[in-house]
Amino acid sequence: MIKKILVANRGEIAIRVMRSCKEMGISTVAVYSEADRTSRHVFYADEACCIGPAPSKESYLVIDNIIAAAKHFDADAIHPGYGFLSESAEFARRCAEENIIFIGPSPEAMIAMGDKISARETMIAAGVPVVPGSQEDLQTLERVKEVAEEIGLPVMLKATAGGGGKGMRLIRHKNEIEDAYNTARSEALASFGNDIVYIEKFVKNPHHIEFQILGDNFGNVIHLCERECSVQRRNQKIVEESPSPMMTPALRAKMGEAAVQAAKAVSYSGAGTIEFLVDDHQNFYFLEMNTRLQVEHPITEEVLGVDLVKEQINIANNLTLRLRQEDVVQRGHAIECRICAEDSDNNFMPSPGIIKQLTEPLGIGTRVDNYVYEGYEIPMHYDPMMGKLIVWAVTRAYAIKRMRRVLYEYKITGIKTNINYLRRIMDTNDFLRGKYDTGFIEKNSDFLLKSTYESTKDETEDIAIIAAYMDYILNLEENTPKTADNRPVSRWREFGKRNVLRI
């Protein structure tokens, strides 16, 4: 059985994984870059090891350093989290060679799902619907034109090795084909060192719905229902919910079955996610498989009452799945918002810096997966996501209201965040009605980006003036020597006791 796990990640996911390890009595080893000495995952772990300078490619992405740390600390297993090396088949293979358990699928499954064309082929063979398109590498412009005509415009031209929107071109008209072919290939070559492209039918503003699956080392695979992830800005998910407001029991059964088939087709073991595009007529198409934990996995945990990290570790321990498909019963509704250090009023400019003050929301139906703390400096080297708010409630309508309450309670100063933006998403009519697809953010951008400051000339505006004024006076008065422990309350006390104020 696994006794010690090295968590090859940072930020909230490292803490998330370590929390479950601690609960299972498993020791943890943190790895950290030079920029992350004060990051909470270093404190939280039982042991910690510096693996290089701040840039990820010199630390969190260096397989040799992580393997060396695992060997030095005698870790039985490595949990990769998401991002970084989590989908590197090479890393998984190295772990196997070094006799370290990689908590995730086999390198073969990762490779099969990593290449988009081979994944499409595997899915077609397994009877899982894919977006209509080419099942071959398109080597010439002529072949691209032929296939595009066959499928019918509009189509998407995509790099086989692609990801993150790179090496991807939308072709609406025949005369755009040649230009698209050339630019997509050169971008793919530059980004992935590989210029192979293929074509897919373009689905306009689909729903992005994914199914969580779990497979063990004995061929058992179950699905854990869906997550609705259509609230995206530039292909980045912002808000996720489960169940999907557009889901029906019949469609869930059908898509769930397809997800299980997809995972079985690559003998998948561990936790994974099958992403589907769904159109307005409930047609669904396999998009890709993520062979790791997702950022948004907590909404599944809340609705089903499972601990996915614990399930991953049990699978890695060669246990059979704890749950059968019929044990998987959804209860209530969960929503997740990703809290990012970014200035949503200023083109989502990243906002690293020191957190001066932090009050996190608590109470019924509230879960915060975080890693930041008061006084922590969010480094500029990594992702701006600093935590996730997850709410659970009996119904979708009540979950939205709870998310509003929770966003209201969340107070952070020192850096800029997207909290106001998230609040506005919770007020958007399309979201409230549950009638939205991946076109949501664009469609509602005027409402979402309206300036937060509107002169009201009312009481609230005067309250803001008064608060600033009082703080200013207090600050002026603060020229008395300070004790080591002066706190705002005692400041105010002193101020209060004076009664009369000289300005």
Binding site: I466, A467, N499
Partner: protein
């Protein structure tokens, strides 16, 4: 005392204060309040029984605030005698004058796109800053000349640090 909130200019006076009980006038309006600075950066104000919590983000200078109330964010500026003096002194300068390029947030210089002495056109990008896996371009507002470049590729920069001076 002169206080600005957005474009609105107000005159604010402390009429009296007895412990938490504070009377303040804003222009002609008099507010009878119960004010407590309870949490780090949070100000609780009771007015006619209504409970307001204003979250204060104070700038380094201590005179400029971002104030969050439940549904709004307000920019508030305290204009004390020192600020008035600076304002008067600055009056001759055109506010539109851009004499430097800076980044509002910390980051890393991904690329410097110009050389010292270059003449650049309004809207031209002069430097690329990277932070949190995102690159931002910084542009000049009007035609000008690059005076001095104070950073080079790979440098780590602070927020508000002058990167390039213009003339």
């Amino acid at each position: 005392m002169e206080i600005h909130i957005g474009d609105r200019i107000t005159n604010v006076e402390l009429v009296s204060k007895d412990d938490n009980k504070v009377v303040i006038s804003i222009d002609d309006k008099v507010y009878d309040l119960d004010v407590v600075m309870a949490e780090n950066g949070v100000c609780s104000i009771l007015h006619n029984g209504k409970s307001f919590n204003a979250e204060l983000k104070r700038s380094e200078s201590g005179k400029s605030y971002i104030v969050n109330t439940l549904f709004n964010t307000f920019p508030v500026n305290i204009v004390d005698s020192q600020a008035k003096y600076l304002r008067n002194r600055k009056k001759d300068d055109s506010d539109e004058q851009q004499d430097r390029i800076f980044s509002p947030m910390p980051g890393k210089v991904a690329k410097v796109l110009v050389n010292e002495g270059d003449s650049v056109e309004a809207g031209q990008s002069v430097i690329l800053i990277e932070a949190m896996k995102m690159q931002s371009e910084y542009k000049v507002k009007k035609d000008c000349k690059i005076k001095k470049i104070l950073v080079q590729q790979g440098d780590t920069i602070d927020g508000d640090q002058t990167l390039i001076t213009l003339e």
